[in-house]
């Protein structure tokens, strides 16, 4: 009985769903606060993302005449649900191990493409030319960063697999267990290029400067989100908060999952997420400008891809 409740609970309450949402929104609040401080401002209250969400829930959703309504409204819902599921797939070292039946690292990788796809669908469903441009840019960005991401994950998986005597291991709990006995990959020189590539993936996946090209406010008026309002926009906010938790959690699991057991493990995990958010996201987004889509595309093909390939080759040869 309890066993059968396990999966829905993981998705809806902990560690996906509500917990991840609260965590994601808090992380966003922290991010905005630190960014403001770096810019010499006071910034919004920490709970601002929560307020925004409550406000959006109270507003009216407007569907443009040119939009296809079921797709227009369904897209954000699918995105939010997919991310809630993804959040349940990310283990918390020493505290939570996902049910292997839910899926492994490969499933997680697939789920991570859902937000981008949802944004593309949303962009084209809204029927606005800016949405359409947002669509093509989102697509280009996805093509750019998915390759390096897969290679990074493959490098880590291969490192674990080879270390265990196999070839590759796409099971996150195994990757974590391996690091807990052999030391974190953060300190493994073979994986340093992969780590660098992974850090470049963060801003691209989370859609922040310098890679917020699909939603660039001054160019395409927030692109796919242009036509959204009220609760539907809120769902996108939920999706992006959950996504932050997922990709940050993935980074922690891949590179530094060392933590004590029990509740302390959860606390350590939170600290790591916060640190990663502030260093990998807040500082990056305030210290540079936006790239053009072709520049971003070239950047990903040049650096992260090369680094990831290098890392993979090192792991394979070592």
């Amino acid at each position: 009985m309890i066993e059968s409740l396990y999966t829905p609970l993981a998705m809806l309450i902990f560690p996906g769903g509500l917990f991840a949402l609260a965590l994601g929104l808090s992380l966003k609040g922290l991010d905005r606060r630190l960014a403001a401080r770096l810019q010499g401002r006071v910034g919004p209250p920490l709970a601002q993302p929560f307020y925004d969400l409550v406000k959006l829930a109270k507003k009216r959703t407007m569907v443009p005449d040119t939009a296809c309504q079921p797709v227009f409204l369904g897209a954000p819902l699918i995105g939010a649900v997919a991310m809630a599921l993804a959040a349940a797939l990310v283990p918390i070292a020493g505290f939570y191990t996902p049910d292997p039946l839910l899926g492994d690292l490969l499933v997680l990788l697939y789920l991570l493409t859902v937000p981008a796809v949802v944004l593309m669908i949303a962009g084209s469903a809204s029927g606005s030319p800016f949405g359409a441009i947002g669509f093509s840019r989102e697509m280009a960005m996805m093509l750019a960063y998915e390759g390096p991401l897969v290679l990074v994950v493959a490098a880590v998986a291969m490192r674990t697999g080879l270390g265990q005597g196999g070839l590759v291991s796409f099971s996150l709990p195994e990757i974590i267990a391996y690091q807990q006995t052999h030391g974190a990959f953060l300190f493994d020189p073979l994986l340093w290029p992969a780590l660098a590539a992974f850090l470049a993936f963060y801003p691209a996946n989370l859609g922040i400067i310098p890679f917020d090209i699909p939603e660039a406010e001054t160019e395409v008026l927030e692109g796919p989100l242009l036509e959204y309002s009220g609760p539907a926009l809120g769902l996108f906010k939920i999706m992006s908060a959950l996504k932050a938790v997922v990709v940050l959690g993935l980074g922690v699991a891949l590179f530094y999952p060392i933590a004590p057991d029990g509740i302390a493990g959860l606390a350590v995990h939170l600290v790591k997420l916060i640190a990663l958010m502030l260093i990998g996201v807040s500082v990056v987004r305030v210290s540079c400008g936006r790239l053009r889509i072709d520049q971003a595309f070239r950047f990903f093909l040049k650096w992260p891809l090369a680094l990831a390939v290098l890392s993979l080759a090192c792991v394979a040869l070592a």
Partner: protein, 150 residues
Amino acid sequence: MTSLKQMFSTQTRRMASLSPWIYRINAGSCNGCDVECATTALIPRYDVERLGCQYCGSPRHADIVLITGPLTARVKDSVLRVYDEVPEPKVTVAVGVCPISGGIFRDSYAVLAPLSKYLPVDVNIPGCAPRPQAIIEGIAQAIAIWRERL
């Protein structure tokens, strides 16, 4: 039970009122009020983000609409269309004397001010151009009105 419900509703309203998003419409202004709006909104010295405000790129995300300029004949239709795209509940603020009375451009063939003839205005911020502090003051009044409408 009803009191609990009431408490929930007041609490959510309070929280929601801490997140007024702002959209600026230029209805043919001379730049002064727009620059001051941008200054108010974006620079560290005034930082309206403290009030939870955020400038948004799309009218559909907005709660408070700042309108500057005397509403020229050419821009009227666009302004009205964009204004309609802002979802309810919303609050309209006329920034500068131009949208309120036409200001110095009154009596021109191309100027349709006052704005209140075409859409409901809630708060006026006279000034030419109003200083950022005055704009913040007006936004604060607008937030108070907006909270009642939520």
